[in-house]
């Protein structure tokens, strides 16, 4: 059966060139970069090159790049590291309701440790309003953290403007750019970014490696203590295969990025347009234009997301959903709810994220298969345009 991968926001396949290079650093070039001998030195050089490759992707300097085990660790290091290093200046942090749990749960932890956190709302397109950021700033604010692009609905935030505001107010600005780096052009200088989180496996690099960009002059505390690696900000022997893989993936991502974005956006728009034409009663989630090149997210009224996913999977299409059944909790996605979607509409959400391996045929196949699935599920559903989607019978289980 034909298999189509439309879940690039979850992860991407490792580029063959990246995988081949990594293999070399597991077998032949296995040295520890901290060693003085030739085995160590050759590897140290490669780690430095990878740092440069990644810096180049972000228009940063290589000494501003700190490798971590991935996006979650980089978010933890950015928030905790900055908060604890600046607690004498203030204890207030501003973030948004639609962040990844790596940010939200780190903020929970900081709240339990003497910090206060403001969670900014978003508009119906999942966009943060600059006015709300301005209003939230107090004389105790030390950090603003706003994600670059949302992982569920793809909305790209006004990062440059928020960065400028933070800079003017003397507040540090962090962005979780896990979805964007490698898939969308980012210039940390132009965007006034002080700290930036990224993860390799979102742009055809390996899992288990990421980085935190820390602008020169920004002081943060280490979270993980041990040896002096990563200039004592992240102790532990370097994941060398991961680092060289990340460097190579960054280099490849940079090549023809504009062309790749144009191609993937065209596929995305074809999918969006096709679904809107073929399926009644659907709602596009996320900003209509300010969205990631590969990001498609719809709510299909009167059907539930997991049923959609299972049916798509049976047809060979891999996707994801923000329904409660797939989030592992009783509530649907916090992002969709923050955008003002009702629970019932959020339960019917489907995320299709396209990547560089996808083709026009993939989109056409999806446009054939998905309307059929929605039609079949709707024919089984007690809900319809004429039925009231309401909470007439409170649920005995979850008390909704």
């Amino acid at each position: 059966m034909k298999r189509i991968y439309f879940d690039h926001s979850a992860t991407t396949p490792v580029d063959n060139e990246v995988a081949a290079l990594m293999m070399e650093y597991m077998t032949e070039k296995f040295g520890n970069p901290s060693s003085i001998h030739s085995f160590g030195r050759e590897v140290k050089k490669s780690v430095d090159e990878a740092r440069q490759q990644l810096a180049s992707l972000l228009n940063a300097n290589s000494n501003e790049i700190f490798f971590t085990s991935g996006g979650t660790e980089a978010d933890n290091l950015a928030l905790k590291g900055l908060a604890f290093a600046n607690r004498k200046k203030g204890n207030h942090i501003i973030t948004t309701c639609i962040e990844h749990h790596a940010i939200l749960h780190t903020c929970d932890y900081l709240e339990k440790n003497g910090f206060t956190v403001t969670y900014l709302p978003v508009d119906e397109n999942a966009m943060v309003r600059l006015e709300d950021v301005k209003k939230a700033i107090t004389d105790k604010t030390i950090l603003i953290s706003v994600m670059f692009a949302n992982n569920e609905v793809g909305t790209i935030q006004p990062i440059k403007e928020i960065g400028q505001l933070a800079r003017e107010k003397g507040i540090y600005f962090h962005t979780d750019a896990v979805q964007a780096v490698g898939n969308y052009p980012i210039d940390v200088k132009e965007y006034n970014i002080d700290l930036l989180t990224l993860s390799a496996h979102k742009f055809h690099g390996p899992k288990g490696i990421g980085a935190l960009y820390i602008r020169r002059g920004v002081r943060i505390d280490a979270v993980q203590h041990g040896g002096g690696q990563e200039r004592s900000l992240r102790a532990g022997t370097e994941n060398v295969p991961g680092i060289v893989g990340l460097g190579k993936a960054a280099e490849i991502a940079q090549q023809d990025m504009t062309k790749k974005i144009a191609r993937i956006s065209t596929l995305r728009d074809k999918l969006i347009k096709g679904l809107m034409e073929k399926v009644p009663d659907i709602k596009l989630n996320g900003h209509p234009t300010q969205r990631m090149p590969g990001s498609v997210n719809f709510s299909f009224l009167y059907v539930e997301g997991e049923s959609l996913l299972l049916n798509l999977d049976l047809k060979g299409i891999a996707a994801s959903s923000g329904s409660a059944c797939t989030s592992g909790s009783l509530d649907p996605s916090h992002v969709l709810l923050a955008m003002g979607l009702t629970h019932e509409v959020a339960h019917g959400s489907l995320r299709l994220t396209l990547g560089r391996g996808n083709t026009e045929e993939d989109v056409e196949y999806c446009l054939t298969v998905l309307p059929e699935i929605v039609g079949r599920l709707r024919s089984m559903s007690p809900l319809s345009a004429s039925s009231k989607m309401s909470d007439s019978n409170p649920c005995s289980i979850c008390k909704h």
Binding site: L310, L314, H343
Partner: protein, 123 residues
């Protein structure tokens, strides 16, 4: 995550639809939770002559709805009242633990439908 039997009932659900002259209808769940099950019964001489369902929900919700209709077709009301959510899950070869409480409500919907029938008959 789902057994073969669950997937069978999910992909080929039995007895989907409505009964226009149903004499018992039951509904449980709500859209906010992501599950609504509605069961239609046609009862004659205390025997379930026909049963159909309509469900909004996940794979488990659809499969349990389908299974419960299969289990009660042709049964007496007393026999049908003895069918529990647990029994439906067992008939499907089990459900993932997370699904046991939220999407395993088909027997409740059936019991609501029987209650509706008895109430209507009493009038």
């Amino acid at each position: 995550m789902y057994t073969e039997k669950v997937m069978d009932h999910f992909t080929n659900p039995r007895n989907v639809g409505e009964i226009s002259d149903a004499n018992g209808v039951g509904e449980v769940g709500n859209a906010k939770c992501g599950d609504i099950m509605r069961i239609y019964l046609k009862v004659e001489d205390d025997i379930i002559k026909d049963v159909k369902f309509k469900t909004f929900g996940c794979g488990a919700a659809i499969a349990t709805s389908s299974m419960v209709t299969e289990l009660v077709m042709g049964k007496t009301l007393d026999e049908a009242l003895e069918i529990s959510n647990q029994a439906v899950a067992e008939a499907l070869g089990g459900l993932p633990p997370a699904k046991m409480h939220c999407s395993n409500l088909a027997a409740d919907a059936l019991h609501e439908a029987i209650k509706d029938y008895i109430e209507k008959k009493g009038k």
